[in-house]
């Protein structure tokens, strides 16, 4: 077995185990910590796929910023352990099964072509311009995908402005 395969199995097992742990934990803080474990393991998997930029950005943005905010909110609210949330509508629980099935089917449909493709070859000449480096991602973001990139930034700007309007108290 090649080195990459061993690494893949190790980090895939970590990712799935911590993903399951998110659901099984009763304490929201432990769930959030497991989510960080999943994100870190995914970032390790990106490194084995030679996408170092995505791996680093995954940690900087998700594990380093968004999850810190999650944990900040959980700590601030500090839900008591011995008060489990009372389920109000029992029937909704069974509605989850068809939706989960639908999502899994969708995932298989989307991932079907990927199973057959292989990794891009290790760059021989110009390592700077290989797929997955900062250079190639930046170039394609600002040439081929310029319109989606700009539209996304406008969307995020709208979300930021909206959040500020909602959070603003009267008389401020």
């Amino acid at each position: 077995m090649g080195q990459e395969k061993v690494l893949f199995i190790v980090f895939a097992v970590i990712a799935i185990a911590s993903a399951l742990n998110i659901l099984l934990q009763r304490n929201p803080l432990y769930s959030a910590l497991s989510l960080i474990g999943t994100l870190l393991a995914l970032s390790a998997l990106y490194v084995t796929l030679r996408a170092e930029f995505i791996a680093a950005v995954q940690i900087v943005v998700y594990a380093g910023a968004i999850m810190v905010l999650f944990i900040f909110v959980i700590m601030l609210l500090n839900v008591p352990k011995d008060q489990p949330q009372v389920e109000k509508q029992k029937g909704l629980r069974y509605l989850a099964i068809p939706f989960a099935g639908l999502m899994i089917a969708e995932m298989f449909y989307v991932l079907r072509p990927i199973r057959l493709s292989t990794l891009p070859p290790v760059p021989s000449g110009n390592a700077e311009q290989a797929v997955g480096t900062t250079w190639s991602i930046g170039t394609s973001l600002f040439t081929d995908y310029l319109l989606p990139f700009e539209v996304t930034s406008v969307l995020i700007l709208m979300a930021v402005v909206g959040a500020m309007v909602l959070a603003r108290r009267e008389g401020d």
């Binding site: 900087v60 594990a63 380093g64 910023a65 810190v68 900040f72 700590m75």
Partner: protein
């Protein structure tokens, strides 16, 4: 392959030992600098037998003392997280150093050795990722101690880290616009020339403003005064590590000094030419010397600031980060990119 692996292992161990020693002596340096600024003598007793050696053995005595202290876990604490938290703040602090170059290359036993552990295509992002993960140690320590002062320290720390990370990241963008690479080794190699004095800060004078923003933000990221709100001792006892004792407390202290050393090393690498200096081309061994001197000058600056400037109030800290540092960093990006556009 095995040769390369052996080289990595040896370099990592050497770096680890040097860093741990540097941390121990940074604590002595801090006490000495504080004493000088406050017109006292500082620790000067611990030496070897009859020789006092200006207190040079103080860190060893401190370390020995801390090992023999009682290790307490509070009854109401969240047991596992309480134990894991110090390691979570120490490990990322130690991991950052592998991408920082501290010299060009030397020849030892007919074998050329590059003076950096490894080089990453995304070296700078790797450092940013680790500093952003390092906050969890502090946050979890504050939460798991089950103590209101600790919790306040942890909360303040997470808010402060998020706020100042933005200014830190955006100030680095200005540097990247000039250097055009994220690889720290390449950034330093780009500053060679003019007798080893073509440092970024001399080459592009606009970077002085960027350096000031970067330095202030990195002081906040490493929880140094005037930004030491997470452990503000006048209001929070000792903040997030109130309940910690013995070696667990030492691990938090080590992480704090390691972060200071790392922040100073990154400043040196980005702005002050890394290991570059006069005659370094002829004598490669001068590289690590220049690097160490520059790093310790920046550490001295941080200590000087600590004993001169009073602590911010919490709302002042937030206002300064969001309403001054962040806009200033963005304005700097705009100015830098305009300058580059007209230079080419």
């Amino acid at each position: 392959m095995t040769n390369l692996l052996l080289e990595w292992v040896i370099k990592t161990i050497v770096i680890l030992l040097i860093l741990v020693t540097a941390v121990a002596y940074a604590t002595l340096m801090e006490r000495k600098v504080m004493a000088w600024i406050q017109m006292r003598v500082g620790p000067n007793r611990v030496g070897l037998g009859k020789f006092r050696l200006w207190g040079l053995m103080q860190p060893l005595a401190d370390g020995l003392k801390m090992i023999f202290k009682e290790d307490i876990v509070p009854l109401q604490a969240s047991h596992w997280l309480y134990i894991v938290a110090p390691a979570l703040s120490l490990i990322p602090a130690l991991m950052t150093f592998i991408v920082i170059p501290y010299g060009s290359q030397i020849t030892l036993f007919d074998h050329t050795i590059e003076l950096h552990v490894t080089r990453l295509n995304v070296g700078l992002l790797y450092v940013l990722a680790l500093t952003s993960v390092g906050v969890y140690g502090i946050v979890l320590a504050g939460w798991s101690s089950n103590n209101k002062y600790s919790l306040m320290g942890g909360l303040r720390s997470s808010a402060q880290m998020i706020s100042y990370e933005l200014a830190l990241g955006l100030s680095i963008v200005s540097v990247l616009l000039y250097t055009g690479t994220l690889d720290l080794v390449e950034i330093v190699e780009g500053q060679q020339g003019f007798h080893g004095l073509a440092w970024n800060i001399f080459h592009y004078p606009l970077l002085i403003l960027v350096f000031i923003i970067f330095y202030i933000a990195s002081l906040a990221e490493t929880n140094r005064t005037p930004f030491d709100l997470p452990e503000a001792d006048s209001e929070l006892v000792a903040g997030y590590h109130t309940e910690y004792s013995s070696m667990k407390f030492v691990m938090f202290q080590m992480a704090e000094y390691l972060n200071l050393i790392t922040a100073s090393s990154i400043s040196t690498t980005l702005f002050f030419g890394g290991w570059n200096g006069p005659f370094v081309g002829r004598l490669p061994l001068l590289g690590p010397v220049y690097f160490t001197v520059k790093v310790f000058v920046l550490i001295f600056l941080a200590m000087w600031i600590r004993y001169t400037v009073p602590r911010f109030r919490y709302d002042q800290l937030m206002r300064f980060g969001w309403k001054f540092l962040l806009p200033a960093a963005i304005v700097n990006i705009i100015i830098s990119s305009t300058v580059i556009l007209f230079m080419r």
